[in-house]
């Protein structure tokens, strides 16, 4: 992967180890009014989402906009969206570690936390969308006397395993990587915090032996997580590719979804880092060159995704299959043309601006583009799911779906759920990997020593 960043000369002098500790741990200071205001806002949104789900549970899925034959809509769209978001975290922390891309150090903690929280968010949706959510546990294969057993031929069961595996591995990876940093925080904390951090840091002392084991374990976990980046989203894509719905049933889906996932994940990392960097004055650690590298990943994956779009349309035409052709014609020019063109604009056209260095190095421009990427990737899943289902084989059963307020409420609630965890995280754990940032810094030298 061409992600090795050319070093950008930093305007400020490199921070020292002590400054790094101080600046990063400063993010853990007692929150201010803005933080609480933001948190309150988020909790209100989350409460509304919870209310929407309660309402849906009480009256049934009828409260949503589902219009047969469109049996999946906003929930599954949002599910895939969040799973996609989750991917860049593992990419940045694990794959780039294996590739030894130095620029990842500043951003990987954020990306990794984002992964865990995004999986936690995504995992809600398969349950939320169920007709009988209270029986969701029936999809797990466990011995019981009711004769209920999982159907291992169903991609939904594969999903259960993919998502739960991913959550386990990515959270282990996150907590593991946190150990030295948490130890640093512990050293500066007092009272119950000290005890808590002591616990989470597993009594880390920073000895050579510990570092050696830590490095090995970290590498091992990175190796373990790497295939998951590819497999989890491949499995998610099979929810669609294994079905015979025109517009879903395509072999391109796995690589196409993986690229889309990384694309959306990097977009989301930018969206999160920009305000985080500003709020906690981390400009010296999360530098413009880091953003530029992320932008390059976005540009690459956007191009893959755009190519996949083109391939899909081409194959629909080239296959000669009348149903595929009709489905894709409908996708571009049918009732859902607007969704398709939002998708194409956001995912294929706008990221082309990243060819320009000026754009890549403008934080403001990157932030705006990342928002477009988020929107575009949500719509990509919407287009695949909803336009596919709206125009299947049976012409008599074609229809049109738009989400209703409970679905939008839950969508908003999911963002709030994600943000809540993130906000809690940055107040409890270092949002920038202290130890790894230090690795990239010149080693401290005693006064009067050799320079």
């Amino acid at each position: 992967m061409a992600t090795i960043a050319t070093p950008v000369p930093a305007s400020a002098p490199e921070p020292t180890y002590a400054e790094t500790n101080r600046d990063v741990i400063a993010t853990l200071r007692p929150p201010g009014r803005k933080y609480f205001a933001g948190m309150a806002f988020i909790l209100v949104g989350l409460a509304f989402g919870a209310f929407c789900w309660g309402y849906q549970l009480r009256y049934g899925l009828g409260v949503t906009g589902y219009t047969p034959p469109i049996f999946w809509g906003t929930y599954i769209t949002t599910f895939v969206f969040w799973v996609g978001i989750a991917h860049s975290g593992t990419l940045i922390s694990a794959i780039l570690l294996l590739f030894r891309s130095g620029w990842r150090t500043a951003v990987y903690r954020t990306a990794e936390a984002m992964t865990v929280f995004a999986v936690m968010t995504a995992g809600l949706f398969p349950v939320l969308h169920l007709g009988r959510a209270w029986y969701a546990y029936w999809v797990f294969p466990y011995p019981n006397f009711r004769g209920v057993w999982s159907n291992f031929r169903s991609p939904l069961v594969w999903d259960v395993f993919a998502i739960s595996t991913y959550l386990t591995v990515s959270s282990t990876f996150l907590l593991m990587g946190l150990i030295p940093d948490v130890a640093a925080v512990r050293d500066q904390a007092a009272g119950w915090r000290r005890k808590l951090y002591g616990l989470v840091s597993f009594g880390w002392k920073g000895s050579d032996r510990e570092w050696r084991h830590f490095g090995k374990m970290y590498l091992y976990l990175a190796g373990f997580a790497t295939p998951l980046v590819l497999s989890v989203h491949s499995v998610v894509s099979w929810d669609f590719a294994m079905a015979i719905v025109p517009g879903w049933h395509a072999t391109i889906f796995a690589p196409y979804f993986v690229a889309g996932a990384i694309f959306s994940g990097c977009g989301m990392v930018i969206t999160i880092l920009v305000p985080l960097r500003k709020a906690f004055h981390l400009e010296r650690y999360i530098q413009v060159r880091h953003f530029e590298s992320l932008a390059k990943v976005c540009l690459l994956t956007a191009s893959i995704v755009a190519y996949a779009y083109a391939t899909e349309f081409f194959m629909a035409w080239y296959s000669g299959n009348p149903f595929e052709r009709a489905s894709f014609y409908n996708r571009a020019f049918g009732q859902y043309w607007w969704a398709t063109w939002i998708m194409l604009t956001c995912n294929a056209f706008i990221p082309q601006l990243l060819w320009f260095r000026k754009v890549r190095t403008s934080i403001r421009a990157l932030f705006v583009i990342s928002i477009f990427i988020n929107i575009g990737m949500w719509f990509e899943r919407f287009v695949i799911i909803v336009t596919g289902l709206s125009h299947e084989y049976e012409p008599w059963q074609w229809s049109y779906y738009l989400p209703r307020w409970p679905e939008l409420g839950i969508l908003i609630g999911s963002f709030c759920w994600f943000s809540m965890w993130f906000l809690l995280f940055i107040k409890f754990f270092p949002a920038v990997a202290i130890a790894e940032v230090k690795e990239a810094l010149p080693a401290p030298v005693r006064a009067g020593g050799h320079r």
């Binding site: 009256y59 049934g60 899925l61 009828g62 589902y66 219009t67 047969p68 034959p69 049996f71 999946w72 398969p126 969308h129 169920l130 007709g131 009988r132 959510a133 029986y135 969701a136 029936w138 999809v139 209920v148 057993w149 999982s150 159907n151 031929r153 169903s154 991609p155 939904l156 069961v157 259960v160 929810d239 294994m242 079905a243 015979i244 719905v245 000669g320 299959n321 009348p322 149903f323 009709a326 289902l389 299947e392 084989y393 049976e394 012409p395 008599w396 059963q397 074609w398 229809s399």
Partner: protein
Amino acid sequence: MKRRRFLQVAGAAGAGLAAGCSSGSTDRLLPYVTPPEDIVPGIPTFYASTCRECPAGCGIHVKTREARAIKVEGNPAHPVSRGRLCARGQASLQGLYDPDRIRGPFRHTARGLEPVTWDAAIAQLAEALGAAAASGPDRVALVTGADSGALDGFYDEWLRAFRSTRRLRYETFAYEPLREASRLAFGVASVPEFDFASARYLLSFGADFLETWISPVQYTREFAEAHGFRDGGMARFVAVEPRRGLTAFNADEWIAPRPGTEGLLALALAASVVRQGRAHLVGAEADRVRGFLGRFGTQSVAEATGVDEAVVDRLAREFTAAQPSLAVGGGVAHQHRAATQTAVAVHLLNYVAGNVGRTVRFQTGRALDKLSRYSDATALVTAMAGGKVDVALVHDANPAFTLPRAAGFADAFRKVGLKVAFASHFDETAALCDLILPDHTPLEQWGALETVAGTRSFVQPAMTPVFDTRQTADVLAAVAQKAGKRVAAGAASARDLVAKGLAPAALEQTLQHGGQFGPAQQRSVYLVSDFARMAYQPPAFDGDAAGPVLVVYPSASLFDGRGANKGWLQELPDVATKIAWQSWIEVHPDTARALGLGTGDVVTVTSPHGSVEAPVHVYPGVRRDVVAMPIGQGHREYGRTAKGRGVNPLDLLGADATDASGALAFCSTHVKIQKTGRSVQLASTEGSARQLGRGVARAVSLAAARQGEVEEGPEATITDAERTAIAAAAASQRQRAYIGEYAKPQPKWEMTVDLSRCTGCSACMTACYAENNIPVVGEEQTVRHRGMAWIRLERYFEGDTSGTDWQVRQIPMLCQQCENAPCEPVCPVYASYHTPDGLNGQVYNRCVGTRYCANNCPYKVRYFNWWDYGTVGDPYFAFSEPLNWQLNPDVTVRTKGVMEKCTFCIQRIRFAQNDAKVRGRELVDGEITPACVQTCPADAFVFGDAHDPDSRVSRSKADARGYNVFDMLNARPGITYLERVIRGEGA
């Protein structure tokens, strides 16, 4: 309904039945000391009776379980229905269990509605009647529906006892023009019997004989016999009408003359037959006919009708070349001011072609012949307005709704001293009445109808009455007794009247059969010589001639509006437009474009007599100068389902728009269409009106079908290499799939549907609702495509719909029970699984509601419970008491959040299998009939075991016309459709 409650009800009902037909309730659950002989828990009991939903009088079997009627099916022994039934007949159960039924006698006072005891009501009525009779003759009026037989005679006699002859046998659609035309042409004022089955060529001048006209179940069966493809032959059917409805969907050719000129066209056809020397006429009669018809030159008629001369000559040639042929006319929708003349013209055409006596036969004693005319109804209105009526009794009729508002029924009725309704509902008429004495519904009644010549069709109660109601004849008898009159030799009840002249054993046997079915007495008729009576005068239309002509047609599901409170019928999409729950106005696409109207735009429809608002349905099946609206909606009273829904197009008609027979001209006015600027979403089930070459509903021309050729579907695009690969994969799949339980010898349940027989009548849909506890979801959910009908009728237009040369393809779509079902592997919890006997089972209890199966079903025949339709107390509960009494105890009521679908009525399969096992016998082919198969009036379905090479289904499957929908998906459906056959010109 809870199980406990069900057992209580069953116990109460059983006890009630055992104690001799008294209704009541129990507080405690008591076991039988001596169980009633005819109630075996789990085993249904059938009662033969007669359907009263329209005047046709089909024989029915009412299926009861634990003393509750749960299903109505046709009586195979009955000459009219031959075991089949239409949607309205199926829905009669919802009339029985309608929660809006009047639950006991009421009196309207200044304080409002008050309950009253039957004794007090009878006393009040007897007193009023006595006073009325004393004050002079004809002070009492009795309005009934299309009654016949013993009870009909009783009503007349009863009325005479109170010195009155004001009797109205009121039906909204009374076929007056046809009866009058028979009188004018043949001297017999009668509705003839039409033999569709043996006709080789059918010509319909606006008669909707597959929907509401005279006897739709019988005619559908006979039409399918004639028009269905068999042994290389079939009849040709040409429909002549300005609006193409379901009947004309089945036509091989549609001709749309200017409204009001159908009769002219019939005469021109007759003239052409004569001119071509093909007339079956002899002697002086031939000259007279020739002389009369000479006036109708093809050219002038072509100008007046807008139908090409060549077409007229061709039709005449074809009509006489096929022997025998049959022309029918006199449909309600095209009943204009020249309706009688039109019917005369059709009679003449039949006569000239030699059909009278062959396919058109006159019989004595048809109940329809005795129906009152519209003019009789308006005469009664005049009498009431003039204060000449003191007591008016209305039974089984709702004239306040079905008479045009301009007729002033309500105002006149209010002037009557005592108004009595023997109604089941607070309908428009009952709402005006002083005394409301609710009648039994037909499934609780006694009766002996003589609807068709030669038959005596019995009505018997299938269960104890649901509410505190009494049969009207019983009440009238009690009233007469109270007033000191002796009527019908003192008969005290309807049962006595019905049983009169029958020994107990004979009565029992008759009741078991459903009636006495003898041959009809035929009457020979001859053409009258007075041709002046047959002269044709083009009809006048009210209003501004610049506007389109309004066609008002009876709804195939709601009939004249009487079905409007039945959820099953409201939810049944209209057979032509596929819109449910609403009123609409059909506008031709060109007209709509000119007026700037789109589907769903609400317009004001104004005639000189009134105006209504309705949404536009853009529809190529009407002429550019015609708009059409269905009758049935627009109730201002009635029950919760009907009230305040849609508009009544009869409000647009003039009260004195009548034809020569005194019939109301339903097609009598031009209207003005104005945009309101508002728009609504139509509750249409149609996704796309075109199948776009996807080969869902296929058709082939007769010539091609004879050669064994068929229409190809999209699978034709598959290359041979692909086909070979698919076949190999399929073979290996099959090998691997048939293991364990599946490898044992099992039946494989399959179905064939002959599209050359299916007319699209949709009876199967309602039968499925009744059998499978399918909830009614309502208008809003129907708009959102959330209807639950497990079987649906898809209707596609084929060809260029800008003219009249296009075809309609219809196909019943239900679960295809695929052998390699796409729904099965995707279910994470095995709720969707394959049974060893080849069905796609659906275990409701196991379903968690991922809806993946529905996404993956290419036929889209899986239905999701978006709401909680099955739980008492939920706002969406679909079976409010006592509708829940109808629920089939053999079928689960589904809960919210689960997927449901057709299972080929697995409960019927298992019932038959268990029965065979218990009795140690083999199953017989044809013994198992799913509800849709059972009711199909056209006999389009064949169901059975495809592993038995001799079964009907196996033989039917082998037909060259057989195809599977979306065959290239390798789902291997268990339903084989047989292509429709269209017999083109001259073929």
